[in-house]
Amino acid sequence: MSRIMGNGRMVFFDHQSTTPVDKRVLDAMLPFFSESYGNPSSHIHKLGVASGQALDKAREQTAALIAADPEEIVFTSGATESNNLAIRGYLQANRDKGKHIVASSIEHFSVMNQLQSLKRDGYDVTFVGCDKYGMVDPMAVRKAMREDTALITVQCASSEIGTIQKIANIGQFTQKRGVFFHSDAAIAAGNIPVDVNELGVDSLSMSAHNFYGPKGVGALYLRKGNLIKCQIEGGMQEFGLRSGTENMPGIVGMGKASAIAKEEMPIRIEHAKNLQIKLWDWLDNNIDYLEFTGHPMYRLPGHVSFWVKYIEGESFLLMLNMKGIMCASGSACASNLKGEDEEDLAASHVLTAVGVPVEYCSGSLTVTLGKDNTEAELDYMISVLPPIVERLLSMSPLYADKLKGDDPYSM
C-alpha cells in the first residue's frame, strides 16, 4: 500500500467512477444476506414473501426517483446490462421498425460497443457530433432521423466532461415521430433531477453505485407499451424481461439509495456545486496553460474537468495519488492500463469528439466531488497542485521548447 498512498491520506475526488455505499443503505441491505434471505419466487413461505415485499418496496423507491411507475422498472446488474437490454432488446422485438440508429458520439462503451456490433450485423448508425462543450444539438439529432430509424440513443450526461444533454428537447420530437428513445442515465439518475415524463424517453438506464448504492445492481426504466426482447432467459423474473433470482441485498440497497437520493438531492447538489465553483475559480486563477472541458453551465454538480498543456495525464494522476488524492484522467495511458497491447491505447473518444486535440487529451483530468467531500479536502488538493504542475512542467521537453519560443502546440 505504501507505494500507492505515499502519505497515508485518502481523498476521494473520483465520484464519476463510483461512490461509497451510504451507511443507511448498507444497514438496509445487511438483513437480506443472512436473516431475511428468502427468494422472492418462494411466494408461499414467510421468508419468500418477506423478500417479495422488499422487492416491491425497492421497485417503488427506484421508480419514484425518476417519476416512473413501479411496473416500469426492471432490475438488472447495472447500467451496462440495462443499456444492452434496452438497445438490443428493443431492436430484436421490433425488427419491422427499420435498420437505422441515431446516437451521440460521446456515449459510454456499453452503448458504443453495442453499436459497433450492430453495424456488423447490418444496422446503419449515424453518430451525431457535439460542440466544443460536448453538447449535442437536438436539431442535429432530429435531422439525422430517417423513415427507417428504429432507435435513438443519447446519454443524459457525460461522466468524463460533465455536460448534461438536452434530453427533453430530443424527447419532444421522438415522441411525435413515434421513434424509440433510450437514454443512458447512469451518472445522471440519483445525482440530478431526472423525470421520465419531462424527458420524454422510452427507456433509461440507472446505476446504483453512482448514487451511494452498491455495485452490481441497476435498473432499466421501460415506458409502458414498449416491447423489448428479454436478453437473459430463465425463470421469467422481472416481468419476464430479466430472469434470474433477484439480487435482493443489491436491489434493497438500490431502493434505499434512491429514496435517500430523492430526498437529499437539493442539499447534495448545492454542496457539490459550492465545492465545484471554489475549485473552478482557483484553477482558473492559478494554473497556467489550463483549459476546462464540458459545458460551463449545463454540467453535473461537483464535476470539474480540464486539460493542461505540456504535461501528461497519467503522470499527473500518479503524483496526485502519491499525495492520497484520487481523480481520473482522459489520457490514453490512464484509461487503458489493462489493455492487452498498444492497440488498446487511444485517447478518450469523448475528448476527441469534443474536438480536444489528441495532444491535449494527454493532460486531461476529471475531478468529481461528492456529498462527503469537505472544503478542507479541497484546500489540501489546492495546496499540492502548484508544486505538482511545476514539477511536471520542469520534466517536460515540450515546456522547455515553449520557453525557448518554440511552442510545440502552435500551428
Binding site: R3, I4, G6, Y310, I311, E312, G313, E314, S315, L318, M322, S331, A332, C333, A334, N336, L337, K338, G339, E340, D341, E342, D344, L345, A347, V358, E359, C361, S362, S394, M395, S396, P397, L398, A400, P408, Y409
Partner: protein, 132 residues
C-alpha cells in the same frame, strides 16, 4: 500474475525520484523521440568524452512508465562507452525496472530509440568507430 497497481516499486521510485532529469546545455548530442500526439515524448542529452558517455540527462512528456524508462536508461548508460551503450535494448530497461505492463512496454522502446538516435547522430558526425 494479476497485480492491481500496475507499477513495480522500481518504476514508482524512478517516477518519484527520477535520476538525471534536466538538460545538458553543452551536450554533444540531443535526441528527440515520440511526439505529444502519441502521449509520449523523450529528449535525451548526452555528453561524450573519448568515446565514453560521461553524462546523460533526459526530459520526458509521458506517463509513469515513460518517465521511469527515461530515468533508468540514463542510469544504465552513464559511464559506458558508446559501443557498449549501442548494445543496450529496451528489454534491459524493462528488466531493471522489475517489469512493465504490456501496454507500457513501448515506453521502454521509446527510451531505446532515443539512445540509438543519439548514437547515430554522434557517429554521423565522424566520431566513434569510424564506420559509416
Amino acid at each position: 500474475m494479476a497485480k492491481s497497481f500496475p507499477y513495480s516499486d522500481q518504476v514508482m521510485d524512478h517516477f518519484s525520484n527520477p535520476r538525471n532529469m534536466g538538460e545538458i546545455p553543452d551536450a554533444d548530442v540531443v535526441a528527440d523521440v515520440g511526439n505529444p500526439a502519441c502521449g509520449d515524448m523523450m529528449r535525451l542529452y548526452l555528453k561524450i568524452e573519448d568515446g565514453r558517455i560521461i553524462d546523460a540527462k533526459f526530459k520526458t512528456f509521458g506517463c509513469g512508465a515513460a518517465i521511469a524508462s527515461s530515468s533508468m536508461l540514463t542510469e544504465i548508460i552513464k559511464g559506458k562507452t558508446v559501443d557498449e551503450a549501442e548494445k543496450i535494448t529496451n528489454r534491459q530497461v524493462v528488466d531493471a525496472l522489475g517489469g512493465l505492463p504490456p501496454v507500457k512496454v513501448h515506453c521502454s522502446v521509446m527510451a531505446e530509440e532515443a539512445l540509438s538516435n543519439a548514437i547515430k547522430q554522434y557517429k554521423n558526425r565522424g566520431n566513434g568507430s569510424g564506420q559509416n
